[in-house]
């Protein structure tokens, strides 16, 4: 065996081992992060006892998490609705009357696309922002300073962000649902020649309030995930500017992964078990 083939085999083994080590390390890091997030969520729930003093902080966070995310949400929602209309029309054109286009768009948007896509785009923006902000505060000893002043950082920094995200994600999702359905209608009307009456009647045909409610419950949970993962990554930051960058990345990755996993769990729980829709 030549030395080059030995080197090649070693490199191959090294790559495989390295890949598994990286994957294992990342998985372990995610589990650790989720455990820390659970503890932080518990401490935040205890901090709710002093909620009255935190109302201005919650309002400020509602603006930053919800209102400031609206431009991104509007663009995402309108084009998601438009693409849904085009795709639905293409998939169904040979088999299903146009009246069902409305229901296809409404169902897919309110149950799945609205809450999940909104959570993913808002989550990317907000969890990274929270992690970077708290991470910078951690590495510059601002959080230690707060602790030293007997101001609980969980009550002052974490709880308002979680409460604000829990409130704002469903509200932003309602905006996204309306805009996505509107976007879908515009495309259906202009490109596919579906009238307002046909589109709305199609929506009414299979309208169930629990579709909307289920979507909003998902958004509520996703809001909690985004805020708590951002805060957890931020508070666990170490290692200066590089550490802050790592924290922001960890927050986004953990938020997105958990949103997708919890989406499956919630879909099963809500639409199979609670609302009894198989």
């Amino acid at each position: 065996m030549t030395s080059s083939s030995v080197t090649a085999r070693r490199n191959h083994g090294g790559f495989g081992t390295g890949l598994f080590r990286t994957l294992g390390g990342n998985a372990l890091e995610l589990v650790t992060e989720v455990g820390a997030a659970g503890l932080l969520l518990w401490r935040s729930s205890l901090a709710l006892r002093k909620f009255g003093r935190s109302v201005p902080l919650v309002v400020e966070q509602m603006r930053r998490i919800g209102v400031d995310s609206l431009p991104l949400v509007i663009i995402t929602a309108v084009f998601t609705g438009a693409v849904t209309a085009v795709q639905a029309a293409y998939q169904l054109k040979e088999f299903v009357p146009k009246i069902y286009l409305g229901v296809a768009i409404y169902k897919s948007v309110t149950i799945e696309l609205g809450p999940v896509l909104t959570a993913l785009v808002v989550g990317g923006r907000v969890s990274a922002s929270i992690a970077a902000e708290l991470g910078t505060m951690r590495v510059t000893e601002q959080i230690d300073a707060m602790d030293a002043m007997a101001i609980d950082p969980v009550r002052y920094l974490v709880m308002p962000r979680i409460v604000a995200a829990l409130i704002m994600l469903p509200i932003v999702t309602i905006f996204a649902d309306v805009l996505a359905i509107s976007g879908g209608f515009v495309v259906a009307n202009l490109s596919l020649d579906v009238s307002v009456k046909t589109f709305v009647e199609g929506m009414k045909l299979y309208f169930f309030p629990h579709d909307v409610l289920g979507g909003l419950l998902k958004a509520f949970v996703f809001g909690g995930i985004i805020a708590v993962m951002g805060c957890t990554a931020g508070l666990r930051t170490f290692g200066g500017a590089v550490g802050v960058g790592r924290a922001a990345t960890r927050a986004v990755v953990a938020s997105c992964v958990l949103i997708l996993i919890s989406d499956y769990v919630l879909a099963t729980l809500l639409f199979k078990v609670i609302f009894g829709e198989a």
Binding site: E141, A148, A150, D152
Partner: protein, 265 residues
């Protein structure tokens, strides 16, 4: 000036992995005095300070403040104790999303529910004490290093604390600004009659601000005594530290007899 031990540290041990930073610290800080913990950079002085205010948990030993073991206090009790402490961090640790006034006023708003004109008056009073009157509207990013330290001191004394902790108060400042901070520490101690613990590697600052000095070496207190005793002791760790200090400053400053009471520089 010296009275009962307000802070009594016994056998304090702390390690980060294999790195044993504190290896059995014994130190008593008396009521009303300014105790300076002196030592080279990276010897664990800041870690010791963070243990005193409960920001770090020790691996062993005890920290007793007014007869209460703080490592065993519940969160609420620790918060009550911390309200009697003020701490000036090495990098000032000002909240950069708040103005100077909001930084200084935050403890007052959070703990005393002070609002409106009363808050403005108290903030201005504290800023005046540190020589920064009229700067409440500025942002931390608009301040120099020395000004940041002074705002950090104004914030630390916002609640009129019984104990003030200073973490490397003169680090990163030019000699003139460092001198101003040293004088501010002395004047604040006199005005508030607070007990102070200053950790520094700056020998001049230690002698200027301290009533007593403890030298940290190899994770332990190698010397403890008055600033006069520091200059006369034959303690090897002290002599080595002073000699290193002299080598670091090869005649760059004349000894100022009015300020440098011990002729160390």
């Amino acid at each position: 000036m010296a009275g009962q031990a307000l802070i009594d540290i016994r056998g304090l041990f702390k390690a980060f992995g294999d790195n044993e930073v504190l290896r059995g610290i014994d130190l008593a800080v008396r009521n009303g005095e300014t105790m300076v913990v002196l030592g080279p950079s990276g010897c664990g002085k800041s870690v010791l300070l963070k243990h005193i205010i409960g920001l770090m948990k020790p691996d062993g030993g005890s920290i007793v403040v007014e007869g209460r073991e703080i490592t065993r206090l519940a969160r609420g009790e620790l918060s009550n104790l911390r309200m009697r402490f003020g701490m000036v961090f090495q990098g000032a640790a000002l909240f950069d999303s708040m103005t100077v006034g909001a930084n200084v006023g935050l403890p007052l708003v959070e703990h005393h529910r002070t609002r409106g004109s009363e808050l403005d008056r108290l903030v201005e009073e504290k800023l005046e004490m540190v020589g920064l009157s009229g700067t409440a509207h500025l942002w931390p990013s608009e301040l120099s290093g020395g000004m940041k330290k002074r705002v950090a001191l104004a914030r630390a004394i916002a609640l009129d604390p019984d104990v003030i902790l200073y973490d490397e108060p003169t680090t990163g400042l030019d000699p003139v600004m460092a001198e101003q901070i040293n004088e501010l520490i002395r004047s604040t101690q006199k005005k508030l009659n607070a007990t102070s613990v200053v950790v520094t590697h700056d020998l001049h600052s230690a002698c200027f601000t301290g009533d007593r000095v403890a030298l940290m070496d190899d994770g332990r207190i190698a010397f403890e005594g008055t600033t006069d005793e520091l200059t006369t002791t034959e303690n090897e760790a002290v002599r080595t530290f002073i000699a290193r200090g002299r080598r670091r400053l090869p005649g760059e400053r004349e000894a100022d007899s009015s300020r440098d009471r011990f002729g160390l520089l």
